[in-house]
């Protein structure tokens, strides 16, 4: 990668120090640097490079030449550049590029000889912020591979030593290579997050502004992800925390759009339903407790499957739990009413109860009205992680679950660790995670309306904001990985219940229906199912039961 070459040579150069090692050192004349205010390009300045705006086109052209020459010179080796040549102040791109070019090729235009005199920098500090190996970021890995650009240049430049010609003289000089900017964008985001972590808020502020500029040059998923993360960083830096919107009806709307535009929620519902169905087997009376009813989208499919059960449907009770509404409308009851109508249509005896509470930890077993002789299932889709915001909550919830002795508990959670103690780690994890998620939305956007798409992004954007900007009890999006949940549930006394091959097959079939289904992957992991985009698993469904004691009918 071009930048690697730059850095490698640059680093080696500064290692040679300020004393010329042998006669091969060359002196270059430089026009006096006017300091920061003298028309240097802002974007590059923020990243530590000094380039005059007027020289930008020239520098870009020379960088291209340099890369072409380096590529062709690879057989001969360019290591001599590292040891023999002296590089003064590699952050001064214009001069540095001249050095490199002239080292690799005899100079053609002598009037360009430059002497570097930097009065501002006494020590040759290379501001190298390439601590992050960006190739490891999956989102970037999903971009067009670099080999395309490199091979194109190799084919285009049959270089002979001694000629420094631009092989495609008619090609317009690209000042902003979007792939390069994409990498810079991620760079800057990470640098900003690090600045925030170190409480260097002024630097963070400057960096986040440049994220905005860089993001503007991107297209698609990368730009959106970057914008959301930048917004969240701004909130964190300035301490702007708008009151958590308690208007759950808008959240529900967003949730619905996310349901429509991608297979994640459907996957969650169908795989959980399959586990519940199998656990209920031939029970005559069943009771499902849904920790987050929302619009009740999971239950029509379960009801239909129960209706088609051999031997006829059981009596189906549903307890739906939800947050309090600001305007006191009973959203839960409305959903329950609709489900009751559906149940009547397909011939299932149905009973609904809505339960309003601020936190699942407020639940007690007696509130749930478990009747003797009924098979109970507990269902939690993206609800458990919120309990981790307050110490002791999740333990209380799991304890309550144990006391009601369900046949099965289904848990669907995001497959990511957004709950680590170190902010920067959380930030990095979240960047990877949401990049993949946004990528997948882009990939399959043809099958849904633009409304759905936009709303889904907003839905995810809110999560990003919570992960990055909030702390303490307000930070509820405390996602943890399957492995972490396994440990937690295991130590609470639950045993894993394997999701069968039916669930896997249903999931695979579901994906076949989605355009862009090529990118989605279902994988099985010790009885749990994960849905991901390309190589990155994004959500995990698992099922749990209590060690068998006296079984309920």
């Amino acid at each position: 990668m071009k930048r690697d070459h730059d850095d490698r040579c640059g680093v080696r150069g500064s290692g040679s120090g300020s004393s010329p090692s042998n006669g091969k050192a060359k002196m270059w004349e430089a026009e006096q640097q006017q300091g920061q205010g003298g028309g240097n390009d802002e974007l590059l300045a923020a990243l530590g490079y000094k380039v005059r705006s007027s020289d930008m086109a020239d520098v870009a052209q020379k960088l291209e030449q340099l890369e072409m020459v380096m590529v062709s010179a690879q057989e001969e080796g360019i290591s001599h550049l590292g040891s023999d040549t002296v590089h003064y102040d590699p952050t001064d791109l214009y001069s540095w590029v001249q050095t490199m070019l002239t080292e690799l090729n005899p100079p053609q235009n002598h009037h360009n000889t430059i002497l570097i005199q930097d009065e501002n920098n006494n020590n040759n500090i290379l501001i190298d912020d390439s601590e992050y190996d960006l190739r490891a970021i999956p989102g970037i890995a999903a971009y067009p591979p670099e080999s395309q650009t490199n091979s194109k240049r190799q084919k285009a430049s049959p270089m002979e030593s001694g000629t420094v010609t631009v092989s495609e003289p008619t090609r317009p000089v690209v000042l902003v290579d979007s792939q390069e900017t994409g990498v810079r964008l991620v760079h800057t985001l990470m640098a900003c997050a690090e600045a925030v972590q170190q409480e260097n808020l002024k630097l963070a502020d400057a960096l986040v502004k440049h994220v905005g500029l860089l993001a503007a040059s991107q297209a698609g998923a990368m730009r959106k992800v970057a914008s959301y993360f930048a917004q969240a960083l701004v909130r964190r830096i300035y301490g702007i925390f708008p009151e958590e919107p308690h208007d759950s009806s808008f959240s529900d709307v967003l949730h619905m759009h996310f349901y429509e535009s991608s297979p994640y929620l459907k996957f969650a519902h169908f795989t959980a339903n399959q586990a519940i169905l199998e656990a209920f087997a031939t029970a005559g009376r069943v009771h499902v407790i849904d920790f987050g009813l929302k619009q009740g989208m999971q239950w029509p499919a379960l009801m239909q499957a129960l209706a088609l059960r051999l031997g006829g449907p059981p009596i189906f009770r549903l307890t739906g739990i939800g947050p309090p509404q600001p305007d006191n409308t009973d959203a839960l009851q409305q959903v329950g009413w609709k489900l009751a109508q559906l149940a009547e249509t397909i011939g299932v005896r149905f009973e609904f109860r809505g339960f309003v509470c601020n936190s699942l930890a407020d639940l007690d077993p007696d509130m749930l009205d478990i009747r003797p002789g009924e098979a109970v299932a507990v269902n939690s889709v993206f609800e458990l992680h919120r309990m981790l915001a307050r110490p002791g909550s999740v333990e209380k919830v799991l304890d309550t679950v144990k006391q009601i002795k369900p046949k099965i508990m289904t848990v669907v959670e995001q497959e990511a660790n957004h709950n680590g103690p170190v902010f920067l780690d959380r930030f990095t994890e979240a960047l990877h995670y949401y990049s993949s998620l946004f990528d997948s939305l882009e990939g399959s956007s043809s099958s849904s309306s633009t409304d759905d798409h936009l709303m889904s992004e907003l839905y995810l954007g809110r999560q990003i904001c919570n992960v990055v900007a909030y702390e303490g009890v307000e930070r509820v999006e405390r996602h943890e990985t399957l492995a972490q949940w396994r440990a937690r549930l295991g130590s609470a006394g639950f045993e894993p219940a394997h999701l069968g091959s039916n669930a896997f097959k249903q999931a695979s079939t579901l994906l076949a229906l989605f355009a862009g289904g090529d990118g989605y992957r279902v994988e099985e992991n010790n009885g749990c199912l994960l849905l991901g985009w390309h190589t990155r698993p994004l959500i995990a469904t698992s099922a749990w039961k209590l060690p068998s004691t006296t079984a309920e009918s």
Binding site: Q304, A305, Q341, I346, N502, A512
Partner: protein, 147 residues
């Protein structure tokens, strides 16, 4: 996929209407027993059944008979995992077999999807039913919105 099928049907309808009606008039003598047509259509595949609906009004009426589409949806396997009558009640309540096929089973059996899904199995049927019931519920929500 829904739209494709409808458009295809319309096109063929216009084409065949001309010829078919001329023929039908000529054969007005022959009492075209609907039952006979029904019996014949029991044995055709989905594509043929859909196209049969483009011949004329009588054929359209017969080919849209739910019982025929029920056969299309279920005949590929001996055991759907649920009782016949049960399935019928539920599917008819949710919108019928023809719609079930059009919305979900047809895309799943579409030759454009990866080859492994060419055969319609129990899994495809059950998934389609899940999506069908969810869709019905969603439509309900939209129509019966209360403040």
């Amino acid at each position: 996929m829904e739209m494709e099928m409808e458009m295809e049907m319309e096109r063929k309808m216009k084409k065949k209407k001309g010829e078919a009606e001329a023929e039908a008039e000529a054969e007005a003598e022959v009492c075209f027993d609907e039952n006979l047509l029904f019996e014949v259509l029991k044995h055709v595949d989905a594509r043929t059944l859909a196209m049969a609906g483009c011949v004329n009004k009588q054929w359209q009426k017969t080919s849209q008979d739910e019982r025929l589409w029920e056969l299309i949806c279920t005949k590929q396997w001996a055991n759907t995992g649920c009782g016949e009558q049960q399935l019928r009640t539920v599917v008819l309540a949710l919108g019928g077999f023809r719609r079930l096929y059009k919305l979900y089973l047809f895309p799943l059996s579409n030759p454009h999807t990866p080859p492994k899904h060419l055969r319609l199995g129990k899994d495809e049927l059950h998934l389609s039913l899940s999506l069908f019931s969810t869709r019905y519920f969603e439509k309900m929500t939209f129509n019966h919105r209360t403040t």
